[in-house]
């Protein structure tokens, strides 16, 4: 008997695990990407005649807990109506029992791919600032992303910035303590499943203390230690700082300072990055909005809160910021001096 090649086996496996969209308004076109929890497909919404991205729970992941987590992810994204967060259109259960949600199809590329074609630091910083805005909006609505990294930031074809993959996000309702918040991470969408028993189950599904979630190089120290209860928005601030490190140096965050990797990185930019990436969360920016504000100052050649300039640096920054004016005034003075010492006077 002939054995099947790995390639053929893979193909068969893919066909076997393809979602069954019958009974829904979606028509499967092709797979877009594959993650640990779910697979994202390109599909057509037959009612509205448009293409959408549909995230479907992986076939192997048949546990109820993962289904609830997926619904929870959809709920989290749905509550965050912001231009920097991809909108969710629909959520439901497929004929094969798998949970799915449909969202806007983002046409563009991931930040890590995008910057390979973009040399301008200003453009990178603008994109980063937009990501800070989206994360700050999420924080204001009590949501912590917990897995921020360049691969989870998409740049659309019109230059729009979208923070994606809220699969491990933590909900922090306003006015609640951290302890309350971890208990509040429950689901309320799956129809007809709101019994006490179910709620207890949902609580049990949530990430528990000691669990490590996220991506190592972009994870805050407290997240790496698995101190889930201690995580707050400053953990995301750390990850944003790590992304800034990547944008400044083209390298994943490491133990060396950005200026040691690339001497062209300004002292102010390095200070902003290192402040966001402080080991102690108390030393970081208090919020993503504060970090975004410092990045805006960097973009406008203004002094940043993370770095104290000496007078020489202040003068140099002012001259740099007003270089056109400085050049014209210099030209004027040169002309005046020229006429002053001109031999034709």
């Amino acid at each position: 008997m002939r054995s099947l090649s790995d390639q053929k086996l893979d193909r068969l496996r893919r066909i076997a695990t393809q979602p069954d969209f019958s009974g829904t308004k979606y028509r499967l076109i092709r797979e877009l990407g594959h993650g640990g929890m779910g697979t994202v497909y390109l599909a057509e919404d037959s009612d509205l005649n448009r293409e959408v991205a549909v995230k479907v729970l992986n076939a192997s992941a048949d546990e109820a807990a993962l289904s609830r987590r997926m619904v929870r992810e959809a709920q989290i994204i749905a509550r965050l109506e912001h231009p920097g967060i991809v909108p969710v259109h629909d959520v439901g259960v497929l004929a094969d029992g798998r949970v799915f949600y449909a969202m806007k199809l983002i046409r563009g590329e991931r930040l890590d791919k995008y910057i390979t074609n973009v040399a301008s630091l200003k453009d990178r910083l603008r994109k980063f600032q937009a990501a800070c805005d989206a994360v700050s909006f999420a924080h204001a609505h009590g949501v912590i992303h917990r897995d921020l990294k360049p691969q989870n930031i998409m740049i659309g074809t019109f230059g729009e910035v979208l923070v994606v993959d809220w699969g491990v996000a933590k909900i922090l309702p306003p006015g609640m303590t951290e302890q309350d918040a971890s208990e509040a991470e429950t689901l309320r969408l799956l129809p007809g499943r709101h019994s006490d028993e179910q709620q207890r189950q949902e609580h049990a599904d949530e990430t528990t203390h000691g669990t490590i979630i996220g991506t190592a190089k972009y994870m805050s120290p407290e997240q790496q230690r698995g101190e889930i209860d201690e995580l707050d928005q400053r953990s995301d601030v750390y990850s944003l700082g790590a992304i800034l490190y990547f944008l400044l140096t083209n390298r994943a965050p490491a133990a060396i300072r950005p200026r040691e990797v690339d001497a062209k990185v300004s002292k102010a930019a390095e200070a902003v990055c290192l402040k966001a990436m402080s080991v102690s969360s108390a030393d970081r920016y208090a919020s993503a909005a504060d970090l975004g504000a410092d990045v805006a100052r960097l973009l406008n050649d203004e002094p940043v809160s993370a770095y104290r300039e000496n007078w020489l640096e202040k003068v140099w920054r002012w001259l740099n910021k007003n270089r056109v004016l400085v050049l014209i005034v210099l030209a004027y003075l040169l002309v005046r001096i020229f006429f002053l010492f001109s031999p034709w006077r």
């Binding site: 007003n322 056109v324 004016l325 014209i328 030209a331 004027y332 002309v335 006429f339 002053l340």
Partner: protein
């Protein structure tokens, strides 16, 4: 500060400074007061024109171009009436003053926000 006001202020200061440099030309030193007054006046006229232009057109290149043109035109008129025909010595710095005023109005002037009914 509004763009016309910045234009007037920068134009007046630079015009006065520009006039004062006549002190270095011994031939016209005795006319210094008149030169400074007329140069300041010229700067204010240029500042008003450039300021209102900047209010209408929010473009740095256009502002620079207009400033240069107005500065050159007013300096040309001044040179025409000046004794000795110092065209080059008056027009070149005068144009640069217009350029500076054009830059300042576009860069530092504030556009008033339209009131909503």
């Amino acid at each position: 500060m509004s763009k016309p006001l910045i234009g007037i202020l920068v134009g007046a200061v630079l015009g006065a400074f520009d006039g004062l440099t006549a002190w270095f030309t011994p031939a016209v030193r005795d006319q210094l007061a008149g030169i400074v007054v007329s140069s300041t006046f010229k700067g204010i006229i240029a500042g008003i024109a450039i300021g209102f232009f900047a209010k209408k057109f929010h473009s740095l290149p256009l502002g620079l171009l207009f400033g240069l043109a107005i500065g050159a035109l007013l300096a040309y008129l001044t040179a025409r009436f000046a004794v000795g025909g110092y065209y080059f010595e008056i027009m070149l710095p005068g144009s640069l003053v217009g350029l500076i005023v054009g830059f300042a109005t576009q860069k530092y002037g504030r556009t008033p926000v339209a009131a909503h009914p």
